[in-house]
Amino acid sequence: MTLDQDRIAQLLGALPPAPEAWVRAAQELPRARQELDEIVARAEADARFRAALIADLESALATEGYVADERTLERLRTRFSA
């Protein structure tokens, strides 16, 4: 199919970049997923850590040195809601 330059220009303009922060967050998914799996596995093996997560999720994670993003926190809240 032949396109004239105006149409090509229009189509180029139809795909502006997504916000960089969105792209970075999506690129971080494998790392975030790995961290989530690690926290869940640890909570299943360690009753005290699990109780701490249920009592105060964010504090318990911070105490153990985890820096979880909002999406990971949401998944953990769902999993460890009291």
Binding site: L3, Q5, L12, A14, W22, A26
Partner: protein
């Protein structure tokens, strides 16, 4: 492997590398389809930004989780389009119990999806041009930068920008010759 090399991989090759746990390949996959997913959510479905961001992240999350289940690796684009479309429709339901009927979608969604699919084909062709051409065309048309801003960013005399854009558009047009635009289904 460097990003430049990954950018030249086909979708199927990229999927194969992602399945092998190649983090750089995943970064390239997200980068390659980020504009498409963003465009479907923001332009076609006109979701509010917060909803569009949730759809964007959920889409790539599902792609990551279900990459193993993709039957035809070359069909990555239509799969992502379908996934994004479904997530947008779920958002539009807004928690209502009744599912949204296809004819209840916002006017113009189908036309917008078709245009975005064509735009992706043009964008794919853009990736085959030189870095200089890719950069200047993307900055001018997709990022809406002025001649002056492009000149400053790329260290080019502003007076040469228009002719470079024209030359690069010609190259892109030549690259697109023979391609079947709109051949993919959203």
């Amino acid at each position: 492997m460097a990003q430049v090399t990954l950018a030249s991989l086909s979708d199927a090759q990229l999927v194969a590398r992602c399945r092998d746990g190649d983090g750089d390949a995943w970064n390239e996959l997200v980068s390659r389809f980020s504009r498409y997913v963003y465009g479907i959510a923001m332009q076609a479905f006109r979701l509010p930004e917060q909803d569009a961001e949730d759809v964007f992240q959920e889409c790539f999350s599902r792609v990551y989780e279900h990459l193993d289940k993709l039957r035809d690796d070359a069909a990555l684009r239509p799969w992502i389009a379908q996934l994004t479309r479904r997530l947008c429709i779920d958002r539009l339901r807004g928690g209502r119990e009744q599912p949204t009927e296809p004819d209840a979608l916002p006017l113009g969604v189908d036309d917008a999806l078709e245009q975005l699919d064509e735009a992706m084909t043009v964008h794919d062709a853009l990736a085959t041009l030189s870095d200089d051409c890719r950069e200047i065309l993307d900055r001018f048309f997709a990022q809406d930068q002025s001649y002056r801003a492009i000149g400053e960013e790329l260290d080019l005399p502003a007076g040469t920008i228009a002719s470079r854009i024209s030359r690069c558009l010609n190259k892109l047009r030549a690259e697109l010759e023979g391609k079947n635009l709109g051949g993919s289904t959203v």
